[in-house]
Symmetry: C2
Subunit: 197 residues, 2 copies
Protein backbone atom coordinates (compact mmCIF):
# COMPACT_ATOMS: atom_id res chain seq x y z
CA UNK A 1 0.00 0.00 0.00
CA UNK A 2 2.96 2.30 -0.73
CA UNK A 3 2.65 4.63 -3.65
CA UNK A 4 4.16 3.20 -6.88
CA UNK A 5 7.14 5.56 -6.85
CA UNK A 6 8.14 4.59 -3.30
CA UNK A 7 7.72 0.92 -4.24
CA UNK A 8 10.03 1.53 -7.21
CA UNK A 9 12.61 3.18 -4.97
CA UNK A 10 12.50 0.31 -2.48
CA UNK A 11 12.91 -2.31 -5.18
CA UNK A 12 15.70 -0.32 -6.87
CA UNK A 13 17.61 -0.17 -3.56
CA UNK A 14 17.50 -3.97 -3.36
CA UNK A 15 20.13 -4.01 -6.12
CA UNK A 16 22.66 -3.28 -3.35
CA UNK A 17 24.35 -6.38 -1.91
CA UNK A 18 23.09 -7.36 1.54
CA UNK A 19 20.00 -5.16 1.25
CA UNK A 20 16.66 -6.97 1.52
CA UNK A 21 13.09 -5.68 1.52
CA UNK A 22 13.19 -4.43 5.10
CA UNK A 23 16.50 -2.53 4.88
CA UNK A 24 15.53 -1.12 1.48
CA UNK A 25 12.34 0.29 2.97
CA UNK A 26 14.28 1.75 5.89
CA UNK A 27 16.76 3.34 3.47
CA UNK A 28 14.01 4.79 1.27
CA UNK A 29 12.21 6.37 4.21
CA UNK A 30 15.45 7.64 5.69
CA UNK A 31 16.44 9.36 2.45
CA UNK A 32 12.97 10.83 1.88
CA UNK A 33 12.68 12.01 5.46
CA UNK A 34 16.13 13.16 6.35
CA UNK A 35 18.56 13.37 3.46
CA UNK A 36 17.14 14.21 0.05
CA UNK A 37 20.29 16.13 -0.80
CA UNK A 38 22.46 13.12 -0.01
CA UNK A 39 20.18 10.95 -2.14
CA UNK A 40 20.50 13.30 -5.11
CA UNK A 41 24.28 13.37 -4.70
CA UNK A 42 24.25 9.55 -4.58
CA UNK A 43 22.21 9.43 -7.80
CA UNK A 44 24.61 11.80 -9.52
CA UNK A 45 27.71 9.89 -8.39
CA UNK A 46 26.18 6.56 -9.40
CA UNK A 47 25.52 7.90 -12.88
CA UNK A 48 28.99 9.34 -13.25
CA UNK A 49 30.79 6.28 -11.87
CA UNK A 50 28.83 3.75 -13.93
CA UNK A 51 29.55 5.77 -17.05
CA UNK A 52 33.19 6.60 -16.53
CA UNK A 53 34.80 3.87 -14.44
CA UNK A 54 36.45 1.19 -16.56
CA UNK A 55 39.47 -1.00 -15.94
CA UNK A 56 43.16 -0.10 -15.69
CA UNK A 57 44.81 -1.29 -18.89
CA UNK A 58 47.77 -2.68 -16.98
CA UNK A 59 46.35 -4.25 -13.78
CA UNK A 60 42.61 -4.52 -14.57
CA UNK A 61 41.46 -2.82 -11.36
CA UNK A 62 38.63 -0.29 -11.53
CA UNK A 63 39.79 3.10 -12.73
CA UNK A 64 38.39 6.06 -14.60
CA UNK A 65 41.82 6.62 -16.13
CA UNK A 66 43.45 4.29 -18.62
CA UNK A 67 46.19 3.57 -16.08
CA UNK A 68 45.27 3.46 -12.37
CA UNK A 69 47.10 5.61 -9.78
CA UNK A 70 49.10 2.64 -8.42
CA UNK A 71 50.34 1.48 -11.84
CA UNK A 72 51.14 5.10 -12.75
CA UNK A 73 53.01 5.83 -9.53
CA UNK A 74 56.80 6.25 -9.76
CA UNK A 75 57.04 5.35 -6.07
CA UNK A 76 55.86 1.76 -6.61
CA UNK A 77 58.20 -1.12 -7.37
CA UNK A 78 56.87 -1.90 -10.84
CA UNK A 79 58.42 -5.35 -11.18
CA UNK A 80 56.80 -6.88 -8.09
CA UNK A 81 53.32 -7.97 -9.07
CA UNK A 82 50.76 -9.10 -6.51
CA UNK A 83 47.90 -11.08 -8.05
CA UNK A 84 44.56 -10.63 -6.28
CA UNK A 85 41.00 -11.69 -7.04
CA UNK A 86 39.26 -8.33 -6.65
CA UNK A 87 39.80 -4.58 -6.22
CA UNK A 88 38.60 -4.94 -2.61
CA UNK A 89 41.69 -7.07 -1.95
CA UNK A 90 43.89 -4.21 -3.14
CA UNK A 91 42.14 -1.89 -0.70
CA UNK A 92 42.88 -4.12 2.28
CA UNK A 93 46.51 -4.74 1.26
CA UNK A 94 47.06 -0.99 0.73
CA UNK A 95 45.66 -0.37 4.19
CA UNK A 96 48.32 -2.62 5.72
CA UNK A 97 51.04 -0.65 3.93
CA UNK A 98 53.21 -3.81 3.72
CA UNK A 99 53.42 -3.97 -0.08
CA UNK A 100 55.05 -1.35 -2.31
CA UNK A 101 54.80 -3.14 -5.66
CA UNK A 102 51.96 -3.21 -8.19
CA UNK A 103 48.93 -5.42 -8.64
CA UNK A 104 47.17 -7.60 -11.12
CA UNK A 105 43.44 -8.03 -10.53
CA UNK A 106 41.81 -11.21 -11.83
CA UNK A 107 38.27 -9.82 -11.29
CA UNK A 108 37.27 -13.36 -10.32
CA UNK A 109 38.88 -16.77 -10.09
CA UNK A 110 39.11 -19.87 -12.25
CA UNK A 111 35.88 -21.81 -12.00
CA UNK A 112 35.26 -24.32 -14.80
CA UNK A 113 31.82 -25.17 -13.35
CA UNK A 114 30.70 -21.56 -13.92
CA UNK A 115 32.47 -21.45 -17.27
CA UNK A 116 35.15 -19.04 -16.04
CA UNK A 117 38.42 -19.85 -17.80
CA UNK A 118 41.87 -18.22 -18.00
CA UNK A 119 40.77 -15.60 -20.55
CA UNK A 120 37.91 -14.45 -18.34
CA UNK A 121 40.29 -13.58 -15.52
CA UNK A 122 42.69 -11.76 -17.82
CA UNK A 123 45.59 -14.22 -17.68
CA UNK A 124 46.70 -13.47 -21.28
CA UNK A 125 47.29 -9.86 -20.20
CA UNK A 126 49.33 -11.00 -17.21
CA UNK A 127 51.32 -13.43 -19.34
CA UNK A 128 52.12 -10.63 -21.76
CA UNK A 129 53.52 -8.65 -18.84
CA UNK A 130 55.69 -11.63 -17.84
CA UNK A 131 56.85 -12.07 -21.45
CA UNK A 132 57.93 -8.46 -21.62
CA UNK A 133 60.21 -9.21 -18.67
CA UNK A 134 58.85 -6.51 -16.43
CA UNK A 135 58.37 -8.82 -13.44
CA UNK A 136 60.89 -10.09 -10.90
CA UNK A 137 58.46 -11.57 -8.36
CA UNK A 138 54.89 -12.75 -8.71
CA UNK A 139 53.13 -12.77 -5.34
CA UNK A 140 49.99 -14.87 -5.51
CA UNK A 141 47.35 -13.54 -3.12
CA UNK A 142 44.22 -15.38 -4.25
CA UNK A 143 41.84 -16.47 -1.48
CA UNK A 144 42.50 -19.81 0.26
CA UNK A 145 39.30 -21.30 -1.18
CA UNK A 146 39.10 -24.25 -3.57
CA UNK A 147 38.86 -21.99 -6.63
CA UNK A 148 41.45 -19.61 -5.24
CA UNK A 149 43.93 -22.47 -4.74
CA UNK A 150 43.24 -23.83 -8.23
CA UNK A 151 43.82 -20.36 -9.66
CA UNK A 152 47.08 -20.06 -7.68
CA UNK A 153 48.22 -23.43 -9.04
CA UNK A 154 47.44 -22.35 -12.61
CA UNK A 155 49.35 -19.10 -12.11
CA UNK A 156 52.38 -21.05 -10.90
CA UNK A 157 52.29 -23.18 -14.06
CA UNK A 158 52.26 -20.06 -16.24
CA UNK A 159 55.08 -18.40 -14.30
CA UNK A 160 57.29 -21.48 -14.72
CA UNK A 161 57.77 -20.53 -18.39
CA UNK A 162 59.39 -17.25 -17.41
CA UNK A 163 62.32 -16.32 -15.26
CA UNK A 164 60.31 -15.08 -12.36
CA UNK A 165 60.21 -15.80 -8.64
CA UNK A 166 56.78 -16.98 -7.49
CA UNK A 167 55.48 -16.73 -3.93
CA UNK A 168 52.19 -17.26 -2.13
CA UNK A 169 50.90 -15.44 0.97
CA UNK A 170 51.55 -17.45 4.15
CA UNK A 171 48.72 -19.38 5.74
CA UNK A 172 48.52 -19.85 9.49
CA UNK A 173 47.00 -18.55 12.69
CA UNK A 174 45.59 -15.03 12.29
CA UNK A 175 46.81 -12.38 14.76
CA UNK A 176 44.56 -12.35 17.81
CA UNK A 177 43.13 -15.72 16.80
CA UNK A 178 42.67 -18.39 19.45
CA UNK A 179 43.83 -21.95 18.85
CA UNK A 180 40.70 -23.23 20.57
CA UNK A 181 38.43 -21.79 17.87
CA UNK A 182 40.64 -22.46 14.86
CA UNK A 183 39.44 -24.75 12.07
CA UNK A 184 41.59 -27.83 11.55
CA UNK A 185 42.58 -26.84 7.99
CA UNK A 186 44.18 -23.62 9.20
CA UNK A 187 45.80 -25.42 12.11
CA UNK A 188 47.25 -28.05 9.74
CA UNK A 189 48.76 -25.25 7.60
CA UNK A 190 50.15 -23.56 10.69
CA UNK A 191 51.91 -26.81 11.67
CA UNK A 192 53.22 -27.56 8.17
CA UNK A 193 54.56 -24.03 7.73
CA UNK A 194 56.02 -23.71 11.24
CA UNK A 195 59.23 -21.72 11.53
CA UNK A 196 62.26 -22.34 13.68
CA UNK A 197 62.82 -19.47 16.10
CA UNK B 1 44.55 4.61 -3.21
CA UNK B 2 41.20 4.33 -5.02
CA UNK B 3 40.62 6.64 -7.92
CA UNK B 4 38.76 9.85 -6.91
CA UNK B 5 35.52 8.82 -8.62
CA UNK B 6 35.36 5.48 -6.79
CA UNK B 7 36.14 7.31 -3.54
CA UNK B 8 33.24 9.67 -4.30
CA UNK B 9 30.92 6.75 -4.96
CA UNK B 10 31.91 5.03 -1.71
CA UNK B 11 31.39 8.17 0.34
CA UNK B 12 28.06 8.90 -1.40
CA UNK B 13 26.83 5.40 -0.52
CA UNK B 14 27.52 6.11 3.16
CA UNK B 15 24.47 8.37 3.11
CA UNK B 16 22.41 5.17 3.45
CA UNK B 17 21.50 4.24 7.04
CA UNK B 18 23.51 1.32 8.43
CA UNK B 19 26.12 1.57 5.69
CA UNK B 20 29.68 2.23 6.86
CA UNK B 21 32.95 2.47 4.97
CA UNK B 22 33.34 -1.27 4.52
CA UNK B 23 29.83 -2.00 3.22
CA UNK B 24 29.91 1.10 1.03
CA UNK B 25 33.08 -0.18 -0.61
CA UNK B 26 31.52 -3.60 -1.09
CA UNK B 27 28.43 -2.02 -2.64
CA UNK B 28 30.47 0.18 -4.98
CA UNK B 29 32.55 -2.75 -6.24
CA UNK B 30 29.49 -4.95 -6.57
CA UNK B 31 27.68 -2.38 -8.70
CA UNK B 32 30.73 -1.64 -10.86
CA UNK B 33 31.49 -5.32 -11.31
CA UNK B 34 28.14 -6.96 -11.62
CA UNK B 35 25.20 -4.61 -11.95
CA UNK B 36 25.81 -1.31 -13.71
CA UNK B 37 22.31 -1.39 -15.15
CA UNK B 38 20.80 -1.79 -11.70
CA UNK B 39 22.94 1.10 -10.46
CA UNK B 40 21.73 3.36 -13.25
CA UNK B 41 18.14 2.40 -12.53
CA UNK B 42 18.74 3.16 -8.84
CA UNK B 43 20.14 6.58 -9.76
CA UNK B 44 17.13 7.33 -11.93
CA UNK B 45 14.61 6.23 -9.29
CA UNK B 46 16.41 8.19 -6.57
CA UNK B 47 16.21 11.32 -8.69
CA UNK B 48 12.55 10.84 -9.50
CA UNK B 49 11.52 9.94 -5.94
CA UNK B 50 13.43 12.81 -4.30
CA UNK B 51 11.88 15.24 -6.73
CA UNK B 52 8.29 14.00 -6.76
CA UNK B 53 7.52 12.40 -3.40
CA UNK B 54 5.94 14.82 -0.95
CA UNK B 55 3.45 14.31 1.85
CA UNK B 56 -0.22 13.34 1.75
CA UNK B 57 -2.22 16.47 2.55
CA UNK B 58 -4.55 14.52 4.83
CA UNK B 59 -2.36 12.03 6.72
CA UNK B 60 1.17 13.38 6.12
CA UNK B 61 2.62 10.07 4.94
CA UNK B 62 4.95 10.02 1.94
CA UNK B 63 3.09 10.22 -1.35
CA UNK B 64 3.68 11.54 -4.84
CA UNK B 65 -0.01 12.39 -5.06
CA UNK B 66 -1.70 15.09 -3.02
CA UNK B 67 -3.79 12.43 -1.30
CA UNK B 68 -2.21 9.01 -0.60
CA UNK B 69 -3.85 5.76 -1.78
CA UNK B 70 -5.09 4.86 1.72
CA UNK B 71 -6.73 8.23 2.37
CA UNK B 72 -8.21 8.14 -1.14
CA UNK B 73 -9.58 4.59 -0.83
CA UNK B 74 -13.36 4.17 -0.59
CA UNK B 75 -12.79 0.81 1.09
CA UNK B 76 -11.18 2.33 4.19
CA UNK B 77 -13.15 3.39 7.25
CA UNK B 78 -12.39 7.10 7.04
CA UNK B 79 -13.43 8.02 10.58
CA UNK B 80 -11.08 5.63 12.38
CA UNK B 81 -7.72 7.33 12.58
CA UNK B 82 -4.60 5.51 13.71
CA UNK B 83 -1.80 7.87 14.76
CA UNK B 84 1.71 6.54 14.06
CA UNK B 85 5.19 8.03 14.25
CA UNK B 86 6.45 7.13 10.78
CA UNK B 87 5.43 5.76 7.37
CA UNK B 88 7.31 2.55 8.22
CA UNK B 89 4.76 1.95 10.99
CA UNK B 90 1.98 2.11 8.39
CA UNK B 91 3.77 -0.53 6.33
CA UNK B 92 3.94 -2.98 9.23
CA UNK B 93 0.31 -2.38 10.30
CA UNK B 94 -0.89 -2.82 6.69
CA UNK B 95 1.02 -6.09 6.55
CA UNK B 96 -0.94 -7.43 9.51
CA UNK B 97 -4.22 -6.57 7.77
CA UNK B 98 -5.89 -5.92 11.16
CA UNK B 99 -6.75 -2.27 10.58
CA UNK B 100 -9.14 -0.95 7.92
CA UNK B 101 -9.26 2.71 8.91
CA UNK B 102 -6.95 5.58 7.93
CA UNK B 103 -3.76 6.97 9.41
CA UNK B 104 -2.17 10.11 10.64
CA UNK B 105 1.63 10.19 10.50
CA UNK B 106 3.46 12.42 12.96
CA UNK B 107 6.78 12.09 11.10
CA UNK B 108 8.45 12.11 14.50
CA UNK B 109 7.43 12.45 18.12
CA UNK B 110 7.28 15.23 20.69
CA UNK B 111 10.75 15.90 22.02
CA UNK B 112 11.21 19.27 23.75
CA UNK B 113 14.95 18.59 24.22
CA UNK B 114 15.39 18.42 20.42
CA UNK B 115 13.05 21.37 19.95
CA UNK B 116 10.31 19.23 18.40
CA UNK B 117 6.94 20.66 19.41
CA UNK B 118 3.29 19.96 18.45
CA UNK B 119 3.51 21.97 15.19
CA UNK B 120 6.53 19.99 14.00
CA UNK B 121 4.60 16.73 14.22
CA UNK B 122 1.57 18.16 12.42
CA UNK B 123 -0.84 18.20 15.37
CA UNK B 124 -2.69 21.31 14.12
CA UNK B 125 -3.62 19.35 10.99
CA UNK B 126 -4.86 16.43 13.09
CA UNK B 127 -6.84 18.77 15.35
CA UNK B 128 -8.48 20.33 12.30
CA UNK B 129 -9.59 16.88 11.28
CA UNK B 130 -11.07 16.29 14.74
CA UNK B 131 -12.78 19.69 14.65
CA UNK B 132 -14.41 18.86 11.35
CA UNK B 133 -15.97 15.88 13.11
CA UNK B 134 -14.64 13.27 10.72
CA UNK B 135 -13.29 11.01 13.46
CA UNK B 136 -15.09 8.48 15.67
CA UNK B 137 -12.04 6.75 17.15
CA UNK B 138 -8.46 7.88 17.53
CA UNK B 139 -6.13 4.89 17.93
CA UNK B 140 -2.79 6.00 19.31
CA UNK B 141 0.01 3.77 18.03
CA UNK B 142 3.13 5.73 18.99
CA UNK B 143 6.10 3.68 20.16
CA UNK B 144 6.27 2.69 23.84
CA UNK B 145 9.34 4.88 24.39
CA UNK B 146 9.53 7.88 26.71
CA UNK B 147 8.88 10.35 23.86
CA UNK B 148 6.23 8.07 22.33
CA UNK B 149 4.36 7.91 25.65
CA UNK B 150 4.60 11.68 26.10
CA UNK B 151 3.24 12.16 22.59
CA UNK B 152 0.40 9.72 23.32
CA UNK B 153 -0.45 11.66 26.48
CA UNK B 154 -0.51 14.93 24.58
CA UNK B 155 -2.77 13.42 21.91
CA UNK B 156 -5.20 12.27 24.63
CA UNK B 157 -5.36 15.84 25.98
CA UNK B 158 -6.20 17.18 22.53
CA UNK B 159 -8.83 14.54 21.87
CA UNK B 160 -10.60 15.36 25.17
CA UNK B 161 -11.87 18.59 23.59
CA UNK B 162 -13.78 16.64 20.96
CA UNK B 163 -16.36 13.91 21.04
CA UNK B 164 -14.04 11.13 20.06
CA UNK B 165 -13.14 7.73 21.51
CA UNK B 166 -9.43 7.40 22.21
CA UNK B 167 -7.54 4.11 22.46
CA UNK B 168 -3.94 2.98 22.74
CA UNK B 169 -2.40 -0.23 21.38
CA UNK B 170 -2.15 -2.93 24.07
CA UNK B 171 1.21 -3.61 25.71
CA UNK B 172 2.15 -7.08 26.88
CA UNK B 173 4.02 -10.24 26.01
CA UNK B 174 4.79 -10.46 22.27
CA UNK B 175 3.67 -13.62 20.46
CA UNK B 176 6.40 -16.24 20.62
CA UNK B 177 8.12 -14.28 23.40
CA UNK B 178 9.46 -16.14 26.41
CA UNK B 179 8.78 -14.91 29.92
CA UNK B 180 12.31 -15.81 30.91
CA UNK B 181 13.80 -13.24 28.55
CA UNK B 182 11.21 -10.49 28.99
CA UNK B 183 12.20 -7.11 30.43
CA UNK B 184 10.48 -6.21 33.69
CA UNK B 185 8.74 -3.16 32.19
CA UNK B 186 6.90 -5.30 29.64
CA UNK B 187 6.12 -7.92 32.27
CA UNK B 188 4.69 -5.24 34.57
CA UNK B 189 2.41 -4.02 31.74
CA UNK B 190 1.36 -7.59 31.01
CA UNK B 191 0.33 -8.06 34.66
CA UNK B 192 -1.45 -4.68 34.92
CA UNK B 193 -3.38 -5.29 31.70
CA UNK B 194 -4.19 -8.96 32.38
CA UNK B 195 -7.60 -10.15 31.13
CA UNK B 196 -10.06 -12.50 32.74
CA UNK B 197 -10.60 -15.57 30.57
Amino acid sequence: MQTPLIDDLISALKVLPGVGAKSAQRMAYHLLERDRKGALRLAETLNEAMEKVGHCRQCRTFSENEICPICASAKRVQDEICVVESPADIAVIEQSGIFRGTYFVLMGRLSPIDGIGPEDIGLPILELRLQQGGCSELIIATNPSVEGEATAHYLQQIAKNYDVKVSRLAQGIPLGGELEYLDSGTLTQAFLSRREV
